[in-house]
Symmetry: C2
């Protein structure tokens, strides 16, 4: 399961759903660069894992939305914390890398 | 940075170092299946990121040990929590998958 967190799309879908219920189009707009095909694949996998629930409403045209299951929420909270950590430490890591590169040039 | 967490070796090294200071040999033994080359590469990357500190002692033969930096510890704590979550939910996810596969056969 941890391996899947290396998949950037999985992480971004989890982070977006941790903010609330989202329709397919809303996920698509919230995740720049994701193709319709990749978003379909990513949400399908998360549903199969029991982490996300997909609901289809019999409207015309049919509406579909996605929400975290309780298990999905517990994972998404940790993943969001990691994403925050990542953003907060990006500069420190970049600085460490250039220091290292200078010392090992 | 999050992408790197998809690298199983990086995760396993962080989890192991979250338990304490480790020598190269100790890391090697604690992580079954990792090659010497891959462990060298993984620890080097983590040192470059400023997450792990490598100390060489001028003994004969020289001793090397690895420990988390404060930044590394904050990441490793979250990664360990994720690894625990993963282990705790492995069965539930496997069950969800086989349920999904039956419903979609």
């Amino acid at each position: 399961m941890l391996d899947r967190l290396g998949d950037r799309w999985t992480v971004l879908v989890l982070v977006e759903l941790s903010k609330g219920v989202r329709r397919f189009r809303e996920l698509e707009r919230a995740i720049p660069g994701i193709s319709q095909r990749m978003l379909t694949l990513t949400t399908k996998r998360l549903c199969r894992d029991g982490l996300v629930e997909r609901t289809v409403y019999p409207t015309i045209p049919p509406q579909t939305d996605y929400r975290l299951t309780p298990t999905g929420r517990s994972l998404a909270d940790m993943v969001s914390a990691l994403a925050d950590w990542s953003r907060d430490h990006m500069d420190a890591i970049a600085a460490a890398r250039s220091r290292w590169d200078q010392e090992h040039a």
